[in-house]
């Protein structure tokens, strides 16, 4: 849906996707890194058509991961499939430029959207079982709930198991600290300054607007 949520992190921010991002989205979703995502648009026109439909879809928040240093898009991530009775949502459509080093901070920020802006009780991701590196990333984050959903979805006609990693609000503080620290390490390197202690929550480096 059309939204105005902007969440600044250290080196990166999440900002709403709009039509001008169509070329970037097509480029990102048609790389080898996107092989575990559902096939998307292959042209700018198709992507804009998809976005028009997305703008009307309530409870679907698609973000560009944008560099705060050069203002360029570095990745995509979304929070959607909100469930009111469970007070949770799914985050996904996650694909980033690996050279940008934005992966960790993008995940930190989407969790902050879930817990700080939407006050969810939990959020979760669903990863194709064959996507070993992403599963490893989620495992490394320390999510304590990991569930296998057999033959959960199809990709190009084949069934794939999905691995759910769920983060509960009660566990969020520890994950927040972990991801914040890692994001700050990358931030200092992108700025080209030596390491120093990680700023805590509500520092001037990190704020949300919506």
């Amino acid at each position: 849906m059309r939204h105005n949520i902007v969440l600044d992190g250290f080196a990166f921010r999440l900002r709403p996707v709009h039509d001008d991002d169509a070329d970037f989205i097509v480029a990102m979703r048609n790389t080898e890194r996107a092989r575990y995502l559902h096939k998307g648009a292959t042209s700018r026109e198709q992507q804009i058509t998809w976005l028009q439909d997305y703008y009307g879809r309530h409870g679907d928040y698609y973000f560009v991961v944008e560099s705060r240093i050069d203002g360029l898009p570095k990745g995509l991530i979304a929070l959607y499939d909100f469930n009111a009775s469970r007070n949770d949502a799914l985050w996904g459509r996650w694909i980033v430029d690996s050279k940008s080093l934005c992966a960790t901070e993008s995940v930190w920020l989407i969790h902050r959207v879930a817990f700080e802006i939407f006050n969810l009780d939990s959020d979760y991701s669903l990863t194709a079982a064959g996507n070993a590196s992403v599963i490893s990333f989620h495992d490394a984050c320390g999510y304590q709930i990991k569930i296998t959903h057999p033959r959960y979805y199809t990709l190009e006609g084949d069934y794939h198991d999905a691995i759910e990693h769920r983060l509960l609000r009660s566990q969020w503080p520890a994950i927040d600290q972990k991801l914040r620290q890692k994001a700050y390490v990358i931030y200092r390197k992108l700025l080209g300054v030596p390491a120093c202690p990680t700023p805590q929550q509500n520092s001037k480096h990190s704020n949300a607007s919506h």
Partner: protein, 81 residues
């Protein structure tokens, strides 16, 4: 440190950071190890910096996609004035 010593240290760090049961071969690339994800990559960088007493910049961090690329980088740093 000699090149073999640097390589051995890097391989030991990789084994430890990624919690591998055995030391990987020197030809290992990032794509060979699922455990070499973006988050653990940061842990790897911090461990390497501590072991070799260097600080890597963002470009170097992004370019570290194999054992040999890390060896070359550490060697380069060790030769720097």
């Amino acid at each position: 440190m000699t090149r073999p010593e640097i390589e051995a240290t890097i391989l030991d760090i990789i084994r430890t950071v990624f919690n591998l049961t055995k030391t990987p071969p020197p030809t290992t690339k990032r794509i060979d190890l699922p455990q070499w994800d973006s988050l653990r990559h940061i842990d790897l960088i911090l461990s390497l910096e501590e072991a070799f007493q260097v600080e890597f910049n963002a470009e170097e961090v992004a370019a570290m996609d194999s054992v040999q690329s890390i060896v070359e980088l550490v060697l380069e740093r060790s030769r720097a004035p």
